[in-house]
Amino acid sequence: MEHTSGFSLPNSGHNRDAEASKMGMWLFLFTELLLFGGLFIVYMVYRSLNPESFLLASFELDVALGTFNTVVLLVSSMTIAMSITAIQLGDAKKSILLLYTTLLLALVFLVVKYFEWSAKIHHGFFPGLDVYENLPPGESLFFFLYFFMTGLHALHIIIGGIIIAVVIYRTKKGLVDKDKYTLTENAGLYWHLVDLIWIYLFPLFYLIH
């Protein structure tokens, strides 16, 4: 009996391992980075093959809106980083407020993106529309890459927003607190990744003239 009393199955309880969770998140982020990295290489190769067309096409994008969205994402990165600070200090209310702010900024980003896309689609630059089909080969490629890469990025914003909503819900229920904030941390890491990708997308599509 003495021997069995100290015995327990390795994973019999609900063991939390914050470090392993974080490592898992980082490993996932690396796959995301390489996914977008592959797309960046496609962009780079085609840009070097069609420098003039890419240059002309990039003038069609609105630098002011792109800059505005960059600022929105950078601020949202700060608010989610601050929400982690708040929960670590035990201030759940402030953490939730900052998460709501981040969510609001994500919505602002998507609304601006929506107007940018609709303007381009209205003018026929979307693949399949009349203007797009009659563009010189290099320029249509620019718009294809623009829609594909910013579209994939916008999808990440939507997923990030859903994750943040889950964190808000679980923090409200008291499942995330001063001692268990891995969820907030991992949501933050994901959100920062979305920001990182935009940091490269923005100059490549809007700024390089």
Binding site: V75, M78, T85, Q88, H192, Y200, L204, H209
Partner: protein
């Protein structure tokens, strides 16, 4: 830092980044954004330079985000090493393929 992960009550010393530090980080990122936009909009004569500078500034911004916002500065060094390995893998592939293309 203790190695045991069986006793959940035993709290490890964690670093908590301050609000001020996050705010300063944001200010640095906004400054870099202003610089990169200004170069693009007003520096039309620096055309050949702007591709390189835009990517350089973007990379500096990414490092700032990863180091402060993503907490690499205070986390275990294994994360920094992993990020570096992935970055080196990607950059070396990109640069090596570009070299072949440029030397035709």
């Amino acid at each position: 830092m203790s190695n045991t992960n069986e006793n959940h009550n035993e709290k490890e010393q964690v670093h908590i980044s301050g609000y001020k530090e996050h705010f300063s980080t944001l200010m640095a990122l906004l400054l870099l954004t202003v610089i990169t936009v200004a170069i693009s909009v007003f520096g039309a004569d620096l055309r050949s330079l702007s591709v390189f500078t835009a990517l350089l500034i973007a990379t500096v911004k990414v490092i700032v985000v990863a180091y402060y916002f993503m907490h690499l500065k205070y986390d275990k060094k294994i994360y920094t090493w992993l990020v570096l390995i992935v970055a080196i893998l990607f950059v070396s592939f990109t640069v090596l393929t570009s070299i072949e293309y440029l030397n035709r």
